[in-house]
Symmetry: D3
């Protein structure tokens, strides 16, 4: 067996991997419109981590399949059934414990690969707390969208308008990624046709029904394709590899 998944390794196999980069995928359980599964972020985080690990000889820790709270303007919000949100303190503690245990096992290179935007501040808080205790461990955190160059974005949005990252929820990039990485989980016939939302430059509470379209999609997924997914994955992984080379 030669899986990159820590989950599938025995402790002896992991022991041989622990001087390599350990990648921690972080996703969510969150509504992704009519056509994508609740695990969309988790699947994207895990599959990109797998490809990344293969390129650099790393290993992939068990994916966080629950993430921080979905927000209306970036994830559709908590009111859709199936969106299971963690509180901020919970995610901080969960990430702290897992990172600390990796440090105690002797791991010195960790890459946190986040695919759910709302997680980031809480993951970084955990990384900061652990980093103060284990200053010899190099911990990087990134995601597939921040590393994309304008060039790649232009390619993916050659035929449709880019609505901005905040609204790219269950839209072209995520749908294309899923069509490439896990096509069996995409219901293409269910892609909603309704138009997306207009972003607002503020946050509004209480969160109530009607803030986002009924489908839960924040922008149209029409025009998605496995090819576009591949473009994104290839570009993101190439960047991750470069970041790893420069930092570890």
């Amino acid at each position: 067996m030669s899986s990159v998944y820590m989950n599938e390794m025995t402790w002896q196999e992991f022991n041989e991997k622990k001087c390599q980069v350990i990648i921690l995928p972080v996703g969510s359980t969150e509504q992704h419109s009519f056509h994508l599964p609740l695990s969309t972020d988790s699947v994207i985080a895990e599959k990109i981590s797998e490809i990344f690990a293969e390129k650099i000889g790393g290993a992939v820790a068990p994916t966080f399949t629950y993430g921080y709270k979905s927000k209306p303007m970036s994830g559709g919000g908590p009111l859709f059934p199936g969106t299971i949100d963690l509180n901020g303190e919970t995610l901080i503690r969960l990430a702290c414990d897992v990172l600390e245990e990796l440090c105690r096992d002797g791991v010195t290179k960790i890459f946190v690969n986040n695919a759910h935007f709302e997680n980031e501040a809480f993951l970084l808080e955990a990384i900061d707390l652990i980093s103060q205790k284990y200053p010899n461990v190099k911990i990087l955190e990134s995601n597939w969208w921040d590393v994309l160059s304008q060039d790649i974005i232009d390619k993916v949005f050659s035929d449709v308008l880019f609505p901005g990252w905040a609204l790219e929820h269950a839209a072209i990039t995520e749908t294309s990624l899923m069509m490439y990485l896990a096509p069996e989980l995409v219901r293409e016939d269910k892609i909603p046709t309704e138009t997306g939302v207009t972003p607002i430059p503020y946050h509004k509470y209480p969160i109530v029904k009607g803030m986002v379209p009924e489908s839960g999609a924040l922008a149209s997924a029409k025009g998605s394709s496995a090819e576009k997914g591949k473009i994104i994955v290839d570009a993101a992984v190439a960047e991750f590899v470069k970041i790893a080379a420069e930092n570890y």
Copy 2:
């Protein structure tokens, strides 16, 4: 698609399932000797939940792949590389958040299926806290070993001695379960031959090397088989179905 996994459902599909029993598998990332993967408890929890869900028309929430601290006398302890332990407060909060979110989504029947012994007290603490807030939600918690009758235990241990549940770590029952549920993850040729440990009726700190055999197995796995795994799974699921019928 007709998966029982919530992860693979869209929010609309989950919405239709939410009046059914939602099963939450809880495992760990923990050493399981030379021959079983770190995910052993998680795989067992998830696969048995899948079979159980199919029988009762339920759905399976994303598995907790990280669990409470491995103890030397029931899991080999924290010193093996790859054993990733959560603190007690972290697991309590994680379980609270996920259970509360299910309750808020309108779920009223939850079954927590635990496959890592050390988790139990912390899961029950979380269930108790949530149950006080949502008294109309019925939450059950069980595991595959406590529901086995003496008859079944006798069948599984017809040819070898039963060392007691505490020592059944990476031993005959878990190995047989994995041979039946996920044979591709079992390294049969790596099953250690060394003899197991003698249980002690107390807990001892600090935890140091040498408290358990080098392999991490607490009792012998020799004599394991997929057939024995099937006997356990069938019996456990039958009991779970009965418990569900009596309580929801």
Copy 3:
């Protein structure tokens, strides 16, 4: 004065004891049927600790008289008036603080003597956390029931059936212990005659009235005697002495 109770010592007297084993009794405030007081677990923990301390020249720290939540199937549950339950996090923190203060005082041998089953996971969590900070302090945790040999159990249950440890709440062992250790607190005439409960291999929430017999006893206490109490105490203390000899 030559009490083994830390409570009765001046700080100078304690100072001379601190290189010895310090025993921390942990009990509860919990219903114990019609015939035993709310302090049953605390009294048992404390009195056995006293005898143990006398044998080994140790000292007994102030008893924890409040413990973790009573569960229906092992303690009758929270619905009986007078059962005062601590949350899990509270007990963890309480035990952490007391253990840490003992460590700071220079104590290096601690024995946590628990007499309320539900406490154990939370006590061990606290011990684990403190043990990581004070690796030079040896901390053991045990209880009177886990150290009893089959021989002793057979003697105690020579004339009645042993219902299993979970149901031994306010039943023969605890009643006998109280008849031996604190006879003035036993209302023998109030021992209920009703039959006990059938254990179930799962946990069930919300906790409601009627899960356990009206008395709060989980098994019959008929047949209890001070003699049986003495057998248990003598055996448990002998084991504790042996454990101490082997580990400190």
Copy 4:
């Protein structure tokens, strides 16, 4: 049996008491000079509660025998062996849990009787938090020193100078109280002769050796007597009874 101690009651006996005032004594485990035991505050809290309960037909909940951190200028500080200090958050949570459980049992009149000065702010924080959840429960908090009239103080200090309450640690009032309430625990021959400390109007950290006299006493206990102890107890209990009459 007709003890006022909840600890000695069965759940049925407590059930009959729960409409009465439930008194919660709060003490500490803290050095009290050469001549008084570590349990001084706990013993005083408990014994005065007992007398108070007898007068008003109330019941006494199990005493908190561990309290908040001893401070150099009011308790001698944490550096004496045997002083076991709880952190602030721990005491808040402990008091919250116990008070909440009493409220859930249907108790509506609670009197927290504190005998360790440093506890007060944390006890009041807990009472405030619980009081917001259970506004129908009347909770009072007091202590034996704040209720003494100038008259009583003058009587107790008729022959020696009153050094102020802060320095009355292991001095005349506490020693007299113990001589009256638990004479068997007082080592009269060990009362130190050294002079007390001069109070400073600020707090100073880190806490180091030498801030207080070697004995741990902050003022002289010479001139203590059981008679003075009786004067204090009688006056304090009379005030408590009056407070109870006016408020419940």
Copy 5:
């Protein structure tokens, strides 16, 4: 007196304001290069809140002058003397308490005006938690940069290149704002001439010296002016007024 500052009101004056919008400015204590004070974010948050309050008849709650951790790529990081960072959980709790107290006072319209980017996720977590308890209170959160239209950004950066918001730390926008709002606190002669940093699309730990320019500025402040500051303030306040009108 007719200040909009709650701080300067008596409780009676505040009582008359509490049906209006209460604005909570949130800043930080963070290095802002050689030429701006540590209070830059707090001053900007407070002064803009003041102008906003005057426009809508609202009141300004006491400013949070300590904020969440400065990050190297958006604030220069924690290693500069004078940067005083709060942990995530601390800021969540602080914001929860203050918001809850406003809700309890009967306030129903709250506007959280944040001027330190790193605060946002933790403020929103607090708002979310409080909003679940007080669903009738409308809470908005925004900041001066997200509400600026492209038009305004173009005006401000008519003569220099816009480096992106992340790098706008102690650069043209903040310096211009301070020159307009608190000119006495700007050391114009100290504006550093060194070139800014190149942003990286990932986060890197441990945080070490040398990640940012010696001055602490992430982009050049050359070209700042009070006029530009006024343009930003006027535009931001106009947007805040519009948001308030649409939502309360």
Copy 6:
């Protein structure tokens, strides 16, 4: 610029101050009768700190403008609009974070200047926790009232009766201090004429309306003057200077 306020310094200016005493003023947002603003404690803490800093060449950290819960018998309680109370744990954490960050910046002399009585126990808990981690940092805590000699008190109360410190809320000392330190914030014409409250030697929950006079003042402010304020400030600062000289 040569302000003593850290807030107005650049990081370089603070860097040069950090070997001096850093003073942390702690106040509250709390009702202070009809005539004083909600910020009374914060203003007093800050202004006295400023004068103190000028005398010793120290610097003043940003004032805590939110404090611990107002109590009826020392601050009028939480029921007045505009009283914004922090929970105990929140204040502990806030103070811990700020103190720790000062320690990390290399500060070794800290003086916490508290002007809201109710804060003290929680500030000392934070100081204790930080002091255990940074034993080389000298941290003092005091307040303006505890350092006043009987002489000074006699001068201030030469023409009226001193009601005791607990009731000196919005009364002569605080009003005089504000008339001296921030006269523009005092509404002298609004000083209430009603008589004060009678102190009670216990705490009473739930807190309800009517426990204190309608104005919120606990004793009369008639007879206050800027001159009396100056007497107090001069005396308190002189004592602080002496304490600093003796301890750092």
